[in-house]
């Protein structure tokens, strides 16, 4: 049995409240879904900001593998290789709630 890929996930500052300020989190996973699940295990609460209740990527959040949007790859099933870097990129509006 092969080991899961060790990858890094880049955390945007609006979500760093869940990671104690960390901008990068190291996780293991064979694909993007695995990696995000591992992130959620390490940092409770963050996964709900990224995935909806059906486990799908929220529409206002993009996840990039390197420079490619995973929506244009295989989505959450996109396979990961050792040392890949994922970036969570949420839509940003502004600071004032209405």
């Amino acid at each position: 049995m092969t080991e899961s890929a060790a990858v890094l996930i880049r955390i945007p500052t609006p979500l760093r409240t869940y990671t104690a300020g960390a901008d990068m989190v190291a996780v293991s996973g064979d694909n993007v879904a695995d990696a995000l699940t591992a992130l959620g295990r390490q940092h409770p609460g963050i996964l709900e900001r990224v995935l909806d209740e059906r486990g799908e990527l929220r529409p206002f959040v993009n996840v990039y593998l390197g420079s490619a949007n995973i929506r244009s790859l295989e989505g959450l099933g996109t396979p990961l290789e050792m040392d890949d870097i994922l970036a969570i990129i949420p839509a940003v509006a502004g600071t004032i709630p209405r």
Binding site: T13, L15, D52, F60, A87, I89, A91, A93, G94
Partner: protein
Amino acid sequence: MTDEQLLRYSRHILLDALGIEGQEKLLSAHALVVGAGGLGSPAALYLAAAGVGRLTLADGDTVDFTNLQRQILHTVDRVGTAKAESGRTALRAINPEVTVTPLCERLSGSQLDALVGSADVVLDCTDNFATRHAINRACVRHRKPLVSGAAIRFDGQVSVYDLRRDDSPCYHCLFPEGEEAEEIRCAVMGVFAPLTGMVGAMQAAEALKLVAGIGESLIGRLLLIDALTMQWRTVRFKKDAGCSICGQKNR
């Protein structure tokens, strides 16, 4: 161009890529700046200083004391006045040649549509997703270039949606409208003051380039700034052929 204009804009005219021809394009342009807050302040200041002939500045809010940390159009003595009016005062002080039209309301519906239709370039400097998507829809409808900026905490984003071009993605291609889109924004507050200046200044730069027809814009690229680590990155994105706003069958 008058002698005074040749002098005022001489440092632009000296730029080979811009020159007198480019400056004249700026002087005859109409920019719509939606939002006169953290992003709209630097964006409008640079557009006015650079000589964009007509600026429409729209914002439905009044200046609050807490705005002054970053919204550099406004001053202590204008707390309580409409931001669009306060902005006009600041822009006039820098460049009285520019015609500034302040609109003291949150743009929507047919008014937004008509204003976008009359503009050469639109700058989205707003603070909410509903307006962002409304501006995008109007820009798609009228095929206008849209320069979008956003900032929260230490994260900034800038991109260009040049909807004059068939191959350009729109804002909805990148961030589809969803009912839960407010969650991340409302969950956190606060923004690093100079980050709004960086993002707004870049919006002005992209708008000026689009109007003058020079350089390479951020079409299909999202510029991401992490001001805490001062890392700048860009990610690429494509037009979504099935986009409900700009997809082929919707044009």
